[in-house]
């Protein structure tokens, strides 16, 4: 009968193998999750149900942290540095060596845990030597899992507190990875020192009561400094954003760069299709009653557009929504352009004549960068 420890060890090894060879970040997360869940089961005797439940919960938390960071940021792993076939061959070879070698005798734990632990430790070397943070994080997590398996095999089953600590270690490693692979969202515009607006000005502007200082403004003025706790340092050089950084230094892989280029090309094609679509006369568009969502979208665009912003002269049919086109007699409203569309339009829109149409305006200016906070001292 196949023992649970053997199955768990092999599952942990396979999970680690998937994590170090997969290109899709979701597969990396899945492989890590399998390895983290299977690793505590490789102990002999098996830990208590409470301990296993704790490790599983920790594994889910760690995997979730990594998945959250990797799912929507176009971050993908480069895959194996030496090729998936080579990784599998190395894993199989080292597993065999670990199965037949006897570095510790008598062995307090299962032999399969020893073989899988050595194999995982070897598999972690290549990712850890690379420059991709996601792969290095996966490698470090695999190394920690391998060390826990070796601990099971060479020293014996770990205590409950040690299981908790190992879980915390895995959460810490993958949490750090998820944070470190996250692109920094502060654009350069946000990091430049703000204009030397006097203290309290912003608060008054926001309230529209320029002559009635708020308590905060009084306090800030009394202290002779802006109300912001985190202010710029005068002798600091303007910071650079990730957008200005080389892709490799920003933690982005070549694959991600290509994906971004493809997305740009698609956005440009969509924008060109919009421009090439048959135009709708303003009269026709005005006669048709708008639907509620369209009304809401148009209102939002009007509110968001600054007074001096350039707008497109006519409404155009969206090429992406033929069912709502003018050919079907349905009302047509302009769709708000996205930032990618704006960037893709480039000089084409700049050369078109513009007329003010506040009710159907489209922003051509890039959206305000969503910086989480101001510059640091």
């Amino acid at each position: 009968m196949i023992q649970l420890a053997v199955v768990a060890s092999v599952a942990a090894l396979l999970g680690g193998l998937v994590a170090v060879t997969a290109r899709d970040s979701r597969l990396v997360v899945l492989g890590l999750l399998v390895a983290m869940v299977a690793a505590p089961l490789a102990s002999s005797p098996a830990p208590s149900v409470l301990t296993i439940a704790f490790r599983v919960l920790g594994a889910l938390l760690a995997a979730y942290l990594l998945w959250v960071a990797a799912r929507d940021r176009s971050i993908s792993s480069e895959g194996s540095g030496i090729g998936a076939a080579a990784e599998m061959a190395v894993a199989a070879a080292v597993f065999s060596v670990g199965w037949f070698a006897v570095p510790v005798k008598p062995l307090p734990g299962p032999l399969a845990a020893q073989a899988a632990g050595i194999s995982l430790a070897v598999l972690a070397v290549v990712p850890l030597a690379g420059r991709n943070i996601l792969r290095a994080g996966a490698g470090l997590a695999i190394l920690a899992i391998g060390a826990s398996l070796l601990f099971d095999a060479w020293v014996g089953p770990p205590s409950a507190l040690q299981q908790v600590v190992l879980m915390a270690l895995l959460v810490g490693v993958l949490g750090s990875t998820s944070l470190l692979i996250s692109p920094i969202e502060e654009p350069a515009a946000n990091l430049e020192p703000p204009a030397p607006a006097p203290a309290g000005m912003s608060a008054e502007i926001e309230r529209g009561e320029a002559t009635v200082p708020t308590v905060a403004a009084v306090v800030a003025a009394a202290a002779g400094e802006p109300d912001e706790d985190i202010g710029p340092k005068p002798d600091r050089k303007p910071a650079a954003s990730v957008a200005q950084m080389p892709a490799a230094e920003a933690g982005e892989t070549d694959r991600a760069s290509r994906a971004r280029e493809r997305a740009k090309a698609r956005a440009k094609a969509r924008a060109a299709a919009r421009l090439a679509a048959p135009e709708v006369s303003p009269t026709t568009a005005a006669m048709a009653p708008p639907t509620a969502p369209q009304e809401k979208a148009a209102g939002a665009a009007t509110d968001a557009a600054p007074a001096d912003s350039a707008v497109l002269p006519t409404a155009r049919t969206s090429a992406r929504r033929p069912g709502r086109s003018v050919r079907d007699g349905a009302p047509v409203r302009p769709l708000p352009l996205t930032t990618a569309d704006d960037a893709a339009l480039g000089d084409e829109t700049a050369s078109r004549p513009v007329t003010p149409a506040p009710s159907q305006s489209r922003r051509l200016r890039p959206r305000e960068p969503r910086g989480p906070r101001g510059p640091r001292p």
Partner: protein
Amino acid sequence: MSLAAFLLACGVGAVLGLIARPPAPVGRVAGVVGLLFAFVAALFIGPTTSLAIGDVTLAGSEYSGLFLACAAGSGLLLGVVALASGWPDEFAPSALAFFLGLAVATTATNPGVALAAAAAAATAGALVIVRATPRSPEADGRLAEFRTVGLAVAGLLFAAITVLRPAWTGESDVPVFVLAFVCLGLALAVRSGAVPFHVPAARLHLSAAPLAPALLLVWIPAGLGLLTVSWSATTFGIRSDWLAIAVALLQAVAVATLVLGALAALVHDELEEIVAYSIVADAGFVLLALAARSDAAAEPVRLWLLVFIVAKAGLVAWTTAVSRVFGTSNVARLRGWLRRAPLLGLALAAIAIGTFGWPGSAVYEARATLIRLALPGQLQLLLVVSIVLSLAYYGRLLVMGALPPTDEIVAGRSERPDRAAYPSVPNTTPSLTPDPAPAAEPLPELGVSGKLAVAWRLSRTLEMSLVVAIAAALALALAFGSLGASNASRFGIPLDTAAHATPTPPPIPSAAVSTPTPKPTLAPHPTGGATSSASPSRSAGPSGSPTPIKTSAPGRPNTD
């Protein structure tokens, strides 16, 4: 109970602080209150403190309580400085998360738990890197930080397996111990930014959040050093040519760090770089303690770590305060700062004295003992060299501060509260209308909270100076053995007891050992004076165990 309260305060504070990001008042409150509760709880941790979790007991000791109190207390002081100078959202959660792991590591009686907890705690350092905006593309320190974390985790996990002494089947255990020594030494050197791994540490002010050096260069290396040195004498006190080479390499790194780090602090112009190199240079003493491999090095390094934590955290706070008050961190542009902020100058002098003391003081003797134990006689001069270099860069800062101030410094704020500014507030408050003579508006009535807020904002410079002065005074007191530092340093942490419970492995009769005329090595010869240390088990040094017996690892099941 106090240990549980410490763990609870750190855990809850860290989680709340992380959840409350980006800036929210609850995040600041959770961070400062968590640090305050942790500090108070750590004061009550003592030899009678224990907490059983499963089959592992977390046991306190005088030293672990004082060590945790120093760490949490310096974190609290830095938190107050951060409130006045600009709150970095990641600082308090990462510090609390690290203190949580550090508390488990310094109180666990199981070596596997202690070292794994230290590895988990070391990952908290990534928090202060991640959300910081690199000021230049080449200063993105994320990969360097991750590699550092990985090295620390790998070294500590491997050491955890090694020190538990599995029943190796090889002829000699020495290669395993040599590898473990190299892993621990490398992890400690890289984490503390020792030369030649100093570049990420020097760039921390470009790539990390403000106050990050306190966590990455002071607290984490100090915690790792404390755990590492616990095993230095008992586990690595074996004679081996390979180990001698590894020790010689570690000695070379430590000497280079002490000298070049202080020199770098002397020649750099940015305060953050000066402070980083100053911390790096003083961390070389921890490497020396690891290289000493003697029980006699345990007590001085414990005392040094207490002083190191408080003094260097105070130095980080001093840098933050000066940079904030005068708006620059360039030494040349800070000419005359001492005249505007004499309290900060006093604090800097106290930090300097607390760092190296003078002959007869506890910290001076501790540093001298570490150099004497770890280095051969030709290098004993290093103590004087390090003190002279340290005096040079501290003196440079003070002399620059005493020079006639620049216009920028004169125009900057001083420690004197600007109370005269309050009555003229409406006149100085700008309005949207560019009226050159705006009409005076009646001063709004302020409640108690408003008055407190005004007082807080008017006196920010003074508040930061006072906090830095408190840190400097604490460092000075610890440096002279006060506040129970000398007494607590005589007793180690539970890991010391566990280390001494597993005797030194038998010296393997290798070719090098059997040679009648051993080759000269930089490694110190173990002396009988090792027994003078008041380590918990008072075990003899490596040569004091004539017939050591290899025993089973504690807690390892007998499967024969």
